[in-house]
Symmetry: C2
Subunit: 297 residues, 2 copies
């Protein structure tokens, strides 16, 4: 996550997109353009995109839809899907085929190419791009309140788990489950953490579960058995305390949020026919929207 | 459900609200004002209403928020909370204290008065009314397609169950579960039923589970052990087939939708402090919004 020494870190959404387009930035976008919203990307054939939009409308906590292509095939102009986002402020001059630092390609729901720099040759006239909120926003707010997530302190990826919580079905997207990200906090901090992240309704919002009973309720029985990201750590960098018994000394509990990996999981589960494009994990599309714009008053 | 013989059935939202206000209509609103949207009602103290609005935003399938009081204490003017609903079309001249045929009163989350005709003396200057979508809309669409729900055919209340699906928490509303309504269909009809109800995203939309495995997945193990409404029937009026084995002859399976009882359950679960007002089940607020206005294109 350390910035390259020889290039400047882009400070705005536009600078970030141009750096990705010009191939001067090909690494994760964590820490780029502070205060600007970063987005998860899914590009789908238009029929699947229509169902996927309904999937987002029905499951806004893991899949908070921000904007979509103005029409099928359009990689330059986007329309807002969130009341807090105005069409003008999404991303001026964007080319969604080049403006994420890295992309993944799926064919019929199977990952076939990984971490490529542009998708101009994969783009189809029937493709619709969807931009979905990302938890970097509320992580900045937690840090500002002195509650920096442990994985950020230790420059690790956040830990992610599949749960037993069903996504509400939408057309071809049936049988999906919520994916959650997990951050360890002291039990005494949980209510503050909830309050700080609550206004970020368009970027996953407040936690959906917390504590050891809460963990088991959503079908997670071992924090060490994570599905994506890095192994979890505590604020002091030690491995997490794995059980209720062991946690009594430190007072730490796991706290779980809806996670932007859910959309890509849904695509794999649905075996969506044709070519689907996603950003490579961590390599987000940076928008012109500011975090303060989407805060619920 | 049979209309009174001596009074006319109101044919518009306005007529329905005036009939409730004038005490000429005190029965369930099923069948009233065909084509007009009917709404579930929850009135909360403003602090709880703020959390509840986030609960709806995070759980739109069981809790699709349509509109709310323009400001705390306002029982006459409403503002839209759904992009498909314009402020002007919500409910002209409404008085939410009198315009539902019957109300229930909760104190600190406990039901204390049932089926009263008006709530003028219970209304407080800090109260906020929230109007939430109702499944009557998609039931009309199913009937128009020759798939009238069995309980409608036999003039019974729909059967409702609590599930194991957690509501995404919001402020004081923690630990709630989805309530679902259930309608029996032949397995061969399920995809049509899904397609017909899918566009009704602001009134619970398409089913969230179906079939015998789907039933067990959401924590229901006996269709006879329902939590609200009447015992389930088949289209021919016979009691439902209770098991996968017995269903093989008839080919019937249970189909489950998010249900507007969920909000009242959430209030009881949260033991919301102070006075909360709900409509009496089945005694909805009829709006000026037409069903066609909220259909997703």
């Amino acid at each position: 996550m350390a910035p390259a020494r020889t290039i400047e870190i882009p400070q705005t959404g536009l600078e970030s997109r141009l750096a990705a387009r010009n191939l001067t930035w090909d690494r994760p976008t964590c820490g780029m353009a502070p205060g600007y919203l970063q987005a998860n990307l899914i590009v789908l054939p238009s029929k699947a995109a229509k169902d996927f939009e309904i999937l987002c409308a029905r499951n806004p906590v893991p899949c908070p839809l921000l904007a979509k292509s103005a029409s099928p095939g359009d990689f330059n102009s986007f329309v807002s899907c969130a009341s807090a986002v105005s069409n003008e402020k999404i991303a001026a001059g964007i080319d969604i085929r080049t403006d994420a630092p890295r992309y993944n390609i799926y064919r019929d729901g199977v990952l076939v190419e990984e971490s490529i720099a542009s998708v101009e040759k994969h783009w189809q006239s029937d493709h619709v791009a969807l931009l979905i909120g990302c938890s970097y926003s509320f992580e900045n707010a937690l840090a500002a309140a002195g509650l920096t997530p442990p994985h950020v302190l230790h420059e690790r990826n956040v830990t992610m788990y599949t749960t037993n919580i069903p996504l509400c079905a939408a057309g071809g997207f049936v049988g999906g489950k919520y994916v959650v990200s997990m951050r360890m906090y002291r039990a005494s901090e949980v209510e503050r953490v909830r309050d700080i992240t609550r206004p970020y309704v368009t970027t996953h919002g407040e936690p959906i579960a917390w504590g050891w009973d809460g963990m088991r309720d959503i079908g997670i029985h071992d924090l060490g058995a994570f599905d994506w990201g890095d192994a979890p750590v505590l604020a002091d960098g030690k491995p997490v305390i794995q059980s209720e018994e062991e946690s009594k000394d430190g007072g730490y509990v796991p706290v779980f949020w809806g996670c932007g990996v859910t959309p890509q999981e849904a695509v794999m589960k649905a075996k969506t026919p044709g070519i689907v494009i996603g950003h490579a994990p961590g390599h987000m599309v940076v928008l012109d929207v500011k975090e303060e714009d989407v805060l619920r008053k």
